[in-house]
């Protein structure tokens, strides 16, 4: 941990910019604690609004550069004001303060935006990547997702257009969420969420022994998530949004299992991890069903 108090710039003109970064940086608590040790502030703490005075709007718009030196000195001498100022900047600060966000938080925000836009249908489906432990898909997973989606589309199209016996390769994918379009349209949220939980539990019906069989099964499972995203769900709008959003994360987990197989992980280990994923999906859906407000 670097001591922030040792990084205070020599040049007084650089102090406001340095303090701007500290305010939104990860070590403000440490800086405030160090300043308290070095400066031994008096018990009489000025009010932040008084310190900012007429410059408050300019500070919120463009940083501490608009403050006179006397105000900056007060902030250094009474570091409890820094936490208060941070809160003000976080809630009311203008675009200038957005330029000081750490890269990792910016990236996280962009990932959230992409997922939410997709979940609410504000954007065409997109598959952002770049998370440390990807919640969505990387390159390989995109291929799997595409393959899975193709399976689903084949199944769904077959179901829609060709009543009667299904082709063998289509039948292999006809389990789990891929059967979502077969759910009753008017069962209500509780029953539908429970039915989805039941579909998720179908994962347990087969216990693939080889890496290839397990990969195939996982691709089918992943395809179910694609089905959730593609077909109209017999749920209220808010419940459907929740299911689709969670399904994005479940899909990412399944993709990670597929990648683990690609990386040569033991079948039993990957299967156990996939079992846990399936159990969690099922549990989440049942819990959600229990939370549906009764009419």
């Amino acid at each position: 941990m670097t001591s922030p108090v040792l990084t205070i710039p020599d040049d007084i003109a650089a102090l406001p910019g340095w303090l701007d970064h500290q305010l939104l940086g990860p070590d403000l608590d440490l800086l405030a604690a160090e300043l308290a040790v070095v400066n031994r502030p008096t018990s009489t703490v000025p009010v932040l609004a008084d310190v900012l005075g007429d410059n408050a709007a300019e500070v919120l718009a463009g940083g501490l550069g608009s403050l006179p030196r006397s105000a900056l000195v007060l902030l250094l001498r009474h570091p409890t004001l820094l936490a208060e100022l941070r809160e003000l900047v976080l809630t009311e600060g203008g675009p200038y303060w957005d330029t000081l966000v750490d890269d990792d938080l910016t990236a996280a925000g962009h990932r959230v935006a992409a997922r939410i836009r997709q979940a609410i249908g504000a954007d065409p489906p997109a598959i952002p990547s770049g998370h440390g432990l990807p919640r969505w898909c990387g390159y390989a997973a995109t291929i799997f997702a595409t393959a899975a989606a193709v399976l689903v589309v084949v199944y769904l199209a077959g179901g829609l257009r060709q009543p009667g016996p299904q082709p063998a390769e289509v039948a292999t994918a006809a389990w789990g969420f891929t059967k979502v379009q077969d759910l009753p349209r008017d069962a209500g949220d509780t029953a539908t969420l429970t039915a989805l939980a039941d579909l998720a539990s179908e994962w347990q019906k087969k216990r693939p022994e080889t890496a290839l069989d397990l990969a195939r099964r996982l691709i089918e499972f992943r395809g179910g998530c694609a089905a959730i995203q593609i077909v109209p769900l017999p749920l209220s709008e808010s419940q459907a949004r929740w299911v689709r959003l969670r399904c994005g994360d479940w899909a990412a987990e399944i993709d990670s299992h597929i990648r683990a197989l690609e990386d040569g992980r033991e079948v039993a280990v990957v299967r156990a991890a996939a079992d846990r994923t399936a159990e969690r999906i099922e549990t989440e859906l049942r819990a959600r069903a229990n939370l549906v407000p009764r009419a």
Partner: protein, 183 residues
């Protein structure tokens, strides 16, 4: 004539009536800010904040139809703060439900760990300050409290260059003492 961008409140009103594009625009404006708020103001880890931010936006999307026109950003961050607080309470109660397993929060233990780290650092700098000669400590304390070289020179009745050299030496001594620089 260039049209001005819609305000947050205009977008929120449209989003409340089901305009997905408007909601998408709000998400674009504030997604980073919500994550940053959860991390910096609510003390969450970046990963936990990223997970919780999704819930926050879904709550916003679900509740926008009931949103009473007002300051959208303030309302949004209140939703975020409440979500973080709910999450923290759940964790303290130890009633981690399966739904929560999908978005683990900054643990209380991690906050305690951070606090311990800060205390350790503070203890170290206090010890290192105590080792400084009086005149060096005075220069450093004066500098950290925002005094200029000239003010410090006047107070110490020494030339400005002496202040500068004392400050430089003091910083180096502190860095060495705190283990961030080799002697």
């Amino acid at each position: 004539m260039a049209s001005s961008a819609p305000t947050d409140e205009e977008l929120a009103s449209r989003a409340g009536q089901g305009d997905r594009a408007a909601c998408g625009e709000l998400v674009g404006r504030y997604a980073v800010r919500v994550v940053r708020f959860l991390v910096r103001s609510c003390g969450m880890t970046a990963d936990a904040a990223e997970d919780l931010a999704q819930d926050v936006w879904l709550k916003v999307w679900q509740n926008l139809p009931q949103w009473k026109p007002g300051h959208f950003r303030g309302w949004l961050l209140t939703v975020a703060r409440n979500a973080a607080e709910d999450s923290r309470k759940k964790q303290i109660r130890g009633k981690t439900q399966p739904l929560d397993a999908a978005h683990p929060q900054a643990t209380e233990s991690s906050k305690v760990g951070r606090s311990a780290e800060v205390q350790e650092e503070v203890g170290r700098i206090r010890m290192c300050l105590d080792r400084l000669a009086t005149e060096f400590r005075a220069v450093f304390e004066g500098f950290v409290s925002g005094k200029t070289y000239e003010e410090l020179a006047t107070e110490g009745k020494v030339p400005v260059n002496t202040v500068k050299s004392r400050l430089s030496r003091t910083r180096r001594e502190l860095r060495i003492c705190m283990g961030v620089e080799d002697r």
